[in-house]
Symmetry: C2
Subunit: 339 residues, 2 copies
């Protein structure tokens, strides 16, 4: 690989001059030398060594993002928002997939610190795991002390600024809609127990149940993995354990789609026999049949706000921004069958 020294030698200038030309430094360089340097760069196909640049430069240019999985639509939308703002600020985004593995998450925080990122944005659910929470917070605090910025999305026990989607209210809105339509026996397909997102949404559902004089007994809650296939299986269990079920609330859209698949398999119509409500309003929600009634949280907005917080000088107090949940009515919900 050609180095800056090679370029300088070929152009007959010093490394300093070559560097200045290549980086468009403020320092003036005569056109004559500039041309010679640029020609040398071209001829040698020179590209500066990013490691060396990173070492030599004082400013931290990159920002780090930890998500569950960028290819998951939920996180893809958040990431879109994050990237937009980062790019506007001239920052590069380093994106890490934790696949909801706490240990991997910890490792990625270190990796991002190692990369000298200016800020770390942590997205996705927190965990009910004290050891992990403590470890993570210690790491983040140390990072902040050394001048790094931290912003989190949807985590209670944050260390840093936060954007909080109102998961509890979303759960409430979903369940309230079902009760309002007249459903009494509502089943829930929940996500992994360990995630705070799951418990928050469940809490909202329970609040609605209580308010409408109902309840959500344990046999009407099944736990899946926030994905289609596990939810399809869970739906079967749910139906078997609760023959009289007239509505299903899935804690995300992917699981709602899994539920639809199982219902179709059993020749139960939606919403004729069973109503289904999802959560997140991912793009595909309108294209399944019937289009999903669901809860929108405004993911790109969340991403944009979080990155804005992360790239803004810290306030004296951690800033917390709340984002409301919104019910999106489509065709997968209706009144329960007459019987």
């Amino acid at each position: 690989m050609a180095t800056l020294a090679d370029v300088a030698k070929r152009a007959g200038v010093s490394a300093a001059t070559a560097s200045r030309v290549i980086n468009g430094s403020a320092k003036p360089v005569t056109d004559e030398l500039r041309d010679r340097v640029l020609r040398a760069v071209d001829e040698l196909h020179y590209v500066p060594n990013a490691h060396a640049q990173g070492l030599a430069r004082a400013d931290r240019i990159a920002v780090g993002v930890i998500v569950h999985d960028v290819s998951d639509p939920y996180f893809a939308e958040i990431t879109r928002g994050l990237q937009r703002v980062a790019t506007e600020h001239g920052r590069l985004c380093i994106i890490c997939n934790s696949y909801r593995d706490p240990d991997r998450e910890l490792a990625y925080v270190d990796l991002l610190r190692a990369q000298q990122v200016a800020a770390i944005v942590l997205t996705g659910s927190g965990y009910h795991d004290l050891r992990f929470t403590r470890l993570l917070n210690a790491k983040l605090k140390a990072y902040e002390r050394s001048g790094g910025r931290v912003a989190v999305i949807g985590r209670h026990k944050h260390a840093g600024d936060a954007v909080m989607p109102d998961n509890e209210q979303g759960g409430y809105l979903a369940a309230a809609e079902l009760y309002r339509l007249g459903h009494q026996r509502v089943g829930v397909i929940a996500g992994p127990r360990i995630l705070t997102t799951t418990t928050d949404r469940l809490t909202g559902i329970r609040r609605a149940a209580k308010e409408f004089g109902g309840s959500v007994p344990p046999r009407r809650v099944v736990y899946a993995d926030f994905d289609r296939d596990s939810a399809a299986v869970a739906t079967a269990e749910l139906l078997d354990a609760n023959p009289g079920l007239t509505a299903i609330a899935a804690l995300n859209d992917a699981m709602a789609i899994g539920a639809l698949a199982t219902l179709r398999e059993r020749s139960l119509t939606v919403p004729g026999d069973v109503s289904v409500i999802g959560f997140d309003d991912m793009p595909i929600a309108r294209d399944v049949l019937p289009p999903l009634t669901t809860i929108r949280l405004g993911m790109p907005e969340m991403g944009m706000r979080a990155m804005t917080l992360a790239l803004t000088p810290p306030a004296s107090e951690p800033r917390i921004e709340h984002l409301p949940a919104e019910l999106i009515r489509r065709a997968s919900t209706a009144a329960p069958p007459a019987s």
Copy 2:
């Protein structure tokens, strides 16, 4: 930020010893010193500076991947395959989204070279753009000359090893299925004209048409952007221009879903009134109604093979591996209406 020197000082050892402990070097260090170093690391929350490490270490550990958009299911699947193999080889993947912008693609090749990656994998369609192709090839050649490895997925004018999905054959299979079912007037929703993927798939469709004594006149081909919404609009145009249409072949599944949306809007049933066939067999294809008949190319497999090529010493000749296309029959296709 704490540096290695800080750790060494705190532990009362030399930087060399600290480095050896931290990296688990082969060189032996007494337990006494090892403990002191590890304690210092802990107390200082030390993380090695990745830039400095990258500079000091000789071996290139990362590999680069350029895709259209990781959150696009098509590329998400390829990426899964790429990552799997990279991880098996102990490599880190740097993933770049080109968003099908040739200039961004060129810029990313430079960026990856700057990061000193051991290999670059280029995925996704090539472009009918001579200037770009030449520029890209020059860059890749220069990179290979300096010891870098290159592998491409689905690009004819490659510089390096290649994995080639059989897009032409896929187009043929899709159209042949429709003709076999008895359709005569088949409309096509194509992707961007500039992409070789579009033209390859179209070529296959035309071959099938010819073989079955039909043809695909220009008015039966509309061009969209490989996404749902543009395809929904394009479908409307297609239907308006061709009242007697009985089947639609979309060049990817997202566009097929867009077509389904427009057909539903116009109260045309699928496959009763119009058959629809997609391409790529993305996961959601089975969850729309009706489940999509489509063409599978085996994306994760493609990714795995490409990364394997990239991480394997080069052969004397560029290696090219072909992957067959496969028809997946579901419920969105049937014989044309009797009338």
